[in-house]
């Protein structure tokens, strides 16, 4: 890292109608540093990045690149300036191969008339090799959301850039992939490339970044060297107060119950998982860990009949279920929060209130099936307040919310129906620390009141902090279970990657 400032932003503002997303912010990026951005959901981080990448135009303010004022009119222009960007929401072409997606910008800039698919795929395999094993010829539409995120990262790494922006790249990544990414980031930084890194995971910021800038409500608060401050300071600057406890109290030995809410036996799916058996007891929060592509999501989707042809036995509160569709599952009180929020979690173009009520619009309707707008809005308002949702108006489309706030809408939708059993797939992806703690508290309260809670998360500290018991999935099988003191990152990683054959580690 040097002290040369490559990018300097001063007094920049940006509004969306009445929403003032950025209010005169300043920001400074030095050559070769890894610079973290922290801030609550809706603080304006992504908006600032979109301005730097030329996707959005600021209302006022100045951008200096190498000390020269620039107007970045389009992503193409940003590219010419050497800006690379991994978006918070993946933006890939589903009908096109992984290799072509990775090299889309290169193809665009290339002078050559013809495509050379062979070298393209070779080079793509090289870039991907370090990250994950994906065939570069597959279409992106056939990839799971986490693999898509890796492709998105690979895409940015191939850019010959001077400034690399990573907007919550690890939200859907497990520890293993995240560590690889950090290694690459460090290598790039050493080569003199400046990296802006956005994350809500404090550990990542403190382990890997050089400096951190904090934003709150569209305003720039401060920039500090990470060596000089503590995570609590950052959270305090973000939220305006110290979050006393990140994770709620766990179940005590005494509270443990033998009552079984969910009993899964010998669940099989043709190609995706085998011999899955487990139990979810009353009052506990059960976690599901595993590497990317291990099959966690598929097991859960299989149980509630969203995907696959599943055989095996599923019993809820002692009653054996014969579910043939997700509707049956909902009718039994089992709901699933999707990991792919944009793809199948929310209705981007529809109002916030309409999104929250989507699972059961009958709840906000009268006896004749007429939706009562007031009832619908007060439902959204109440759940929104619980989750600390930031919005302009409940009639605004969800697309106008920040990524983390969209996630809160998706969660609010699930909570709106008072389910008996909730599967949450990456529930806090993109959610800020404050709201995360709130969500965890809500989950704990639900569990205590008898609702079955199963959490899939790629963030091991979260699983360890929240769950009473964690099952580990490897290659479509449950490879083990950890509880109590055994619940450590090492043990889980071990079960997820190599071990597993041995019985549960008690």
């Amino acid at each position: 890292m040097t002290d040369d400032v490559i990018l300097k932003i001063s007094n920049l503002s940006k509004s969306f109608g009445p929403v003032r997303a950025l209010k005169g912010v300043d920001f400074e990026l030095r050559q070769g540093e890894i610079h973290a951005l922290a801030g609550e959901n809706g603080a304006g981080k992504s908006t600032l990045m979109n301005v730097i990448d030329g996707i959005l135009q600021p209302d006022s303010g100045e951008i200096l690149f190498d000390g020269v004022p620039v107007r970045i009119a389009s992503p193409a222009m940003a590219q010419k300036l050497g800006v690379g960007f991994v978006h918070q929401e993946t933006a890939l072409c589903p009908d096109v191969s992984v290799a072509e997606n990775i090299f889309m910008a290169t193809t665009n800039a290339s002078r050559s008339l013809l495509m050379n698919y062979r070298t393209l795929e070779q080079k793509a395999a090289e870039v991907l090799g370090e990250l994950v094993d994906i065939n570069p010829a597959t279409l992106v539409r056939d990839l799971s959301i986490s693999h898509q995120q890796l492709v998105e990262i690979a895409k940015a790494l191939t850019l010959d850039c001077r400034v690399l922006i990573l907007d919550e790249p690890t939200a859907a990544l497990t520890e293993k992939e995240a560590q690889i990414l950090f290694r690459i980031m460090r290598r790039l930084a050493d080569k003199g490339i400046s990296i802006i890194y956005i994350s809500h995971r404090m550990v990542e910021i403190f382990d890997n970044c050089d400096r951190v800038s904090v934003f709150r409500d569209g305003q720039y608060i401060t920039t500090r060297n990470v060596s000089e401050i503590t995570p609590d300071d950052v959270v305090n600057a973000m939220v305006g107060r110290v979050i006393d406890e990140l994770y709620p109290r766990k179940q005590t030995e005494a509270e443990r119950s033998d009552e079984i809410i969910l009993n899964v036996r010998n669940l099989n799916e043709r190609s995706r998982f085998r011999d899955v058996s487990f139990q979810l007891r009353k009052g506990e929060i059960l976690g599901l860990a595993g590497l990317i592509g291990a099959g966690r999501s598929e097991i859960v989707k299989g149980i509630c009949q969203l995907e696959g042809e599943v055989s095996g036995e599923v019993a809820l509160n002692g009653k054996t279920l014969s579910l043939s569709s997700y509707q049956d599952s909902i009718a039994e009180g089992i709901v699933y929060l999707s990991e792919d929020r944009k793809g199948d979690g929310i209705f981007l173009d529809m109002p916030i209130a309409g999104n929250v009520s989507a699972l059961k619009p009958e709840q906000v309707a009268n006896g004749f099936g007429l939706i009562l707008r007031q009832k619908e809005e007060s439902q959204a308002e109440a759940l929104g307040a619980r989750l600390n949702l930031k919005y302009g108006s409940l009639t605004d489309p969800v697309s106008s919310l920040s990524g983390g706030n969209q996630q809160k809408v998706a969660i609010a939708k699930m909570l709106s129906v008072n389910p008996k059993l909730i599967f949450l797939d990456e529930p806090t992806r993109g959610v800020d620390v404050g709201a995360k703690a709130e969500i965890h508290r809500i989950l704990r309260n639900l569990a205590a009141s008898g609702v079955g809670i199963l959490v899939i998360s790629s963030e091991l500290p979260e699983l360890i902090g929240v769950c009473d018991r964690v099952l580990v999935v490897r290659e479509g099988r449950i490879s083990g279970e950890v509880t109590g003191d055994r619940m450590t990152e090492e043990n889980i990683m071990h079960l997820a990657s190599v071990g597993g054959a041995q019985a549960a580690i008690q």
Binding site: I346, G354, E362, A365
Partner: protein
């Protein structure tokens, strides 16, 4: 409101026209103008709902014609006209269900399924009539009343039209059933993940659109006292255009009945005005297309500005 721009454009047209022609702002002309799109407006309602759910239907013209042919043929073969109409509407509903089957079960695209049905239904019209229009002059007066009669000064056709429009507009805005149509069209996968039986929803909207074509066909039959196998050729483009002008998205998820009807009004006012001003037929298409393009651009500009 999304429709303000369109209303403004239509108002401007009205003001210009009332200066340009002394006959424009007469009761009789207004009545004629509404009559000109009222029946097609019923089809516009069905199409708008289908578009919102993410579908499209090219067969509306043929199916409307087939409704006339089926009811007319039955009537000529001694069936009571009311019964014949009911059978005919049921048959159209069946056609819609057939399309719905191909879309939701076989997995084909609405476009191609409805294109095939457009051809098949037109063929059925030819077969049922031997290519000759059916003269239904002998329809009883109480039946013709639904197409030709008036209650007070208001034609029955307009009353039916208003009832359909207001009814569906209300339902689309307020009922849970139709809300699911929006969810499905906005993001089918997210709707499925919200427990909505999206295939049923699409099946429903597809069927509803054809059923409304059936209703329109019966009213046309009562109105014209005949069943023409070639009726309604090219209707689909008109109907889709009205919905799209009125703000419906071809990608699904958005649209209103009110807007779509305003779209139909706009198209109709332009046509009427050109005829009223006796613009040369060789110029009419050029002017009509240009006004359409201008109006849509202005509306787009106004909507964007407000947002």
């Amino acid at each position: 409101m999304r429709e303000t721009g369109l209303i403004a454009i239509i108002l401007v047209l009205f003001i210009v026209m009332s200066f340009a022609s002394p006959y424009f702002l007469t009761w009789v002309n207004m009545r004629a103008m509404v009559m000109a799109f009222a029946v097609e407006g019923i089809v516009v309602v069905g199409m708008t709902i289908l578009l919102i759910s993410g579908g499209i239907d090219l067969s509306v013209g043929s199916v409307t014609a087939l409704a006339m042919v089926i009811a007319g043929w039955l009537f000529l073969n001694g069936v009571d006209p009311w019964v014949a109409s009911a059978i005919s509407i049921a048959a159209c509903t069946g056609i819609g269900a057939f399309m719905g089957f191909f879309v939701t079960r076989v997995g084909l695209h609405h476009f191609i399924v409805s294109l095939a049905i457009m051809v098949i239904a037109r063929g059925a019209c030819l077969l049922g009539t031997g290519g000759r229009p059916l003269g239904l002059f002998t329809l009883p007066p109480e039946f013709k009343f639904i197409g030709q009669g008036s209650i007070g000064p208001i034609p029955v056709v307009i009353i039916i039209f208003l009832a359909v429009v207001i009814g569906f507009d209300f339902m689309l805005r307020r009922t849970t059933l139709f809300r699911k149509v929006f969810y499905t069209g906005s993001n089918e996968k997210a709707a499925a993940y919200s427990g909505i039986r999206t295939k049923r929803v699409i099946f429903f909207t597809t069927t509803l659109c054809s059923a409304l074509c059936g209703v329109a066909g019966i009213i046309y039959m009562a109105r014209f006292g005949s069943a023409q196998p070639t009726f309604g050729i090219g209707m689909e483009l008109n109907v889709i255009a009205a919905a799209v002008i009125g703000g419906a998205s071809l990608k699904g998820g958005s649209g209103t009945i009110f807007g779509a009807i305003l779209g139909a009004v706009l198209l109709s006012v332009v046509s009427s005005s050109l005829a009223l001003l006796d613009v040369s037929v060789y110029w009419q298409d050029i002017i009509r297309g240009s006004i359409l393009l201008t109006a849509v651009s202005i509306d787009h500009y106004l909507v964007k500005k407000r947002a």
